[in-house]
């Protein structure tokens, strides 16, 4: 069972259908999944999930970036995790990685920097962000655009992050994450 964390500004928001439902649509044919809003996460119950995906949010919705204290469980979850846009920005802050201003909106060329199980080569992806996570201590860059780091991985843990939105034009990347062996 995969947990998808709804990172939008409130429970059952208008952001759900835009940033969570498309991820659910990609995963459902591959594996069972369920969605919880970030404010409803019970850390003690996370052991029951095989993987966790943290969704993106609307461009100007930075709610989770101001509530990083609610994401202490990110450090303790020992199975694969994927943060998308606001998801990886929040994970980055949990691990002390800095956010840098980087505004990109629309189809953007992504170049792979390091071999990884999620993607390879150069490809186009849909971006919608005002900040990037620049790896400094715990993470390493997996891909970049001309402006900033676009994908990264924790150096020791199976924590991946993409700044672009794979659910829009690159659903196979989410598929590869689902196939990852813990």
């Amino acid at each position: 069972m995969i947990l998808i964390v709804d990172m939008n500004w409130k429970r059952d928001s208008l952001g759900y259908s835009e940033f969570v439902s498309p991820i659910v649509s990609v995963i459902q044919p591959l594996e069972e999944c369920e969605v919880r809003h970030f404010s409803d996460i019970e850390p003690a119950k996370l052991d029951g999930y095989s993987k966790i995906i943290l969704s993106g949010t609307a461009l100007r919705d930075h709610t989770t970036l101001k509530q990083v204290d609610k994401f202490g469980w990110v450090r303790d979850f020992d199975k694969p995790m994927l943060g998308i846009c606001a998801g990886i920005q929040t994970i980055g802050l949990v691990f002390g990685e800095p956010l840098n201003p980087c505004r990109q909106i629309g189809m953007t060329e992504i170049t792979t920097l390091r071999e990884n199980p999620l993607f390879q080569g150069t490809f186009k992806a849909y971006t919608l962000h005002n900040y990037s996570v620049e790896p400094s201590q715990n993470f390493e860059a997996l891909a970049k655009s001309t402006q900033c780091t676009q994908a990264l991985k924790h150096k020791q843990k199976d924590i991946y992050g993409v700044l672009f939105h794979p659910e829009v034009r690159n659903p196979e990347i989410i598929g590869h994450f689902v196939e990852l062996k813990p």
């Binding site: 928001s13 259908s17 835009e18 498309p22 919705d61 629309g106 849909y126």
Partner: protein, 226 residues
């Protein structure tokens, strides 16, 4: 949260309006009238009917006319959204974008520059599910434009119902056209919807068609009791 809806009078923006209204307050509609019939950004057949639709919905309409030159028409859109922010204090804009990154990219940029939220409640929605939802929610929607093979004049003015959706599903499998017209294969006009306090009654129309391209133009219409 106060929201304005980018409103073309077609099925997507009207459905997006209804979904958004379930969760937030809708305070105005924003319509761009493009003089360019082949606008990349804005739905064109029967755009003038948005005035009647706004009356039916009981919502004020912010309307701007554009020559429809690619990219330049975005300035009018930005001006219209800025006017809605000024007049109706909107915190965000709702769009009916489903798959078009071309449209969504441009609207997202404008909203970001104006410092407001952009929400797309139909984004990546399954197209058959979208059409089924219109029928389930009792929307009365007609085909007001056809722009792809093998669609012909006979489709113009037809109501979206389960039978028509089945035909579109068949054409999608056979010819690769989008079930909901996401590729611009069809355009639609909404005559009634749950939030309409009155419905639109068409009094006079003209069909202009040639081959696989045509429009159903509403010349005269009125609001009548539901």
């Amino acid at each position: 949260m106060k929201l304005g809806v980018l409103f073309s009078g077609g099925k997507d923006s009207t459905l997006a309006l209804h979904i958004a209204a379930e969760k937030e307050e809708i305070v105005c509609l924003i319509t761009i009238i493009s003089k360019n019939k082949e606008s990349y950004m804005f739905h064109t057949p029967n755009i003038d009917i948005t005035t009647l639709q706004a009356q039916a919905l009981g919502l004020p309409l912010v309307k701007k006319v554009t020559e429809g030159k690619k990219e330049e028409e975005l300035k009018e859109l930005k001006d219209a959204i800025a006017e809605a922010i000024q007049t109706y204090k909107i915190d965000g804009v709702v769009t009916g974008a489903v798959e078009s990154v071309y449209q969504s990219t441009r609207i997202q940029k404008i909203c970001d520059e104006l410092g407001i939220l952009c929400v797309n409640p139909l984004w990546k929605k399954n197209q058959k599910a979208l059409m089924d939802e219109l029928v389930a929610k009792n929307f009365k929607v007609i085909i007001s434009g056809i722009f792809a093979y093998p669609l012909t004049e006979s489709w113009l003015g037809k109501k979206i119902n389960p039978n028509l959706i089945d035909k579109l599903v068949h054409l999608s499998k056979e010819y690769g056209i989008s079930i909901s017209g996401e590729g611009g294969e069809i355009e639609t006009t909404v005559l009634d919807a749950p939030m309409f306090k009155q419905r639109i009654d068409i009094l006079d129309y003209t069909v202009q068609a040639k081959g696989n391209s045509g429009v159903f133009i509403i010349n005269k219409a009125r609001l009548v009791a539901k």
